[in-house]
Amino acid sequence: MDNALKEHINQALQKGIRLDGRKLDEFRPVTIETGTLSTAEGSAHITCGATDVMVGIKFELGTPYSDRPDEGALMVNAELRPMSNPKFELGPPKIDSIEASRVIDRSIRESKTIDEKSLCLKVGEKVWKVNVDVCPLNHDGNLIDIGGLGAIAALKTARFPKLVDDQPDYHQLTKDGLKLSCIPIPVTVVKIGKNFLIDPTWDEMSVADARLTVTSLEDGKLCAMQKGGDAPLTIEEIDSMVDLAVKTAKELRKKLK
């Protein structure tokens, strides 16, 4: 951890500003474009400041899990590849990428926004598997939030491929998509010194003492949480961070309209 940078960020935070001039509860400008990829059944190109991410949805036909024969499956994979940031290396997914994948996965899964039973084509034999792949082009922090938001945008606009002889023909998309029953939005709040910030940049994440990702729904209900970082959090702190996350999620949800 770069102590000089941390000192510096703290000094600016005492004055209520961040190194890029934002307020502590300010998100960088977000742009979302959906349906940009011809090879994916659903896609979103999302940018947030300098963080630039491609999310793609691929539908696969497969067999259901034996303990859930009438349900399809959702799988989320976030790749942290060296193109997007000099700190990443080639090789099998490291823990950061695994954590990002699993947190975004739980955000969507636990909200029950996708009715997994609706993905079933033949009980015990054939179900749709929905693959969500989050691929950053340029990573300047906050991949979980941005990847999660992009994933929902892509899922909303995804279309099933036509089944020809019981096999998906990816060159023909139907008009049917996934019906999302709610819109879960993950928001990561980081604690630096005594301050809480949202939408941390790469530098801010590298000096954060602790972070809490909270996924909330339209009615303010929480459906997933993840605490990270080395420092502990008090209950009061968690309370404030949850409030901040829910408030921010409401703002972000408007970007999906």
Partner: protein
């Protein structure tokens, strides 16, 4: 001969942005130099850069590049390892540098002292490169005016190719930013920049630096930056040169190229090949 001259054509203008493989000129009249090369009767660029036309000579100033350590450069290095005999520094280049014990400070460092008391991991120092071998082994020294460990502040990176523009003619650009924002500012030749001051002023300085990086290739930069800084700070800015004491140009005043290792003149010349002694030599005998 005159026929060849008549056929020469220039395809670009002075201060154009040129890219590798671009045909700059045709015919034998023009001459290639840094950043350009000749193949048969055409001259091409071999690096993305700003074209400079000096008479018939075509050269480019790179618009982007990685820093390669050069003797006499003053750089900002980061301590990445503590060795038995000194410290290893990251120079923001493919080659790390070594700061030997004897060159770290004017104090005497006893053997066995805990070196982290002087410079610890992840600390930044302003140092000068005093040697670069052919295999790019780099030695640095901190004995010299202005060379020191950096406390506090923050470090940002700029592209090494933009450093000359950021420093400006005789330090004028750096001085302008400093006087407009009242912050401490040190620009390393290796593209690392250290700033220290009020957070808002620092952010303004960084904005200025990024603006210089973006617009380095557009003429009139100094005037533009002056106006921009005046507008942002409400202060009247004067373009002045850096005072000698603050200048980091520590090259010997009669700089004739890299110093070759060998006796300084003051010693004897080598005898002539045929053995005849030298007479009437101004360097005969030792210098007083």
């Amino acid at each position: 001969m005159t026929e060849a001259k008549e056929k020469s054509t220039l395809h670009v203008k002075d201060h154009d942005v040129v890219v590798p493989g671009e045909v700059l000129a045709e015919g034998m009249e023009y001459l290639p130099s840094q950043g350009t090369y000749r193949k048969e009767d055409k001259i091409y660029a071999n690096q993305t850069g700003l074209l400079i036309l000096e008479g018939k000579v075509l050269k480019t100033i790179p618009l982007a590049s990685v820093y390669l350590p050069k003797k006499y450069d003053v750089i900002i290095g980061k301590v990445i390892d503590i060795l038995m005999t000194g410290w290893r520094l990251d120079t923001n280049s493919p080659y790390s540098a070594v700061l030997p014990l004897k060159d770290a400070t004017f104090d005497y460092i006893k053997k066995g002292t805990d070196l982290t008391a002087y410079f610890n991991l992840d600390e930044y120092v302003v140092c000068k490169i005093f040697q670069v071998t052919s295999q790019n082994l780099v030695d640095v020294s901190m004995k010299g005016p202005g060379l020191r460990k950096l406390q506090g502040g923050r470090i940002i990176k700029v592209n090494a190719a933009k450093v000359p523009r950021l420093i400006g003619k005789r330090g004028s650009m750096v001085m302008m930013i400093k006087s407009a924002t009242d912050i401490q500012l040190i620009v390393g030749q290796n593209g690392l920049v250290w700033l220290n001051g009020e957070p808002e002023k620092e952010m303004l300085a960084i904005e200025a630096i990024r603006k210089i990086e973006r617009e380095a290739h557009v003429p009139g930069l100094t005037e533009r930056m002056k106006k921009w800084l005046e507008q942002k700070t409400g202060k009247k800015i004067e373009i002045q040169e850096m005072p000698e004491e603050e200048s980091y140009d520590h090259r010997p005043s009669r700089y004739n190229g890299p110093r070759r290792d060998g006796p300084r003149h003051g010693g004897q010349h080598e005898p002539r090949r045929d053995g005849r002694p030298r007479r009437n030599s101004p360097f005969r005998g030792s210098r007083r």
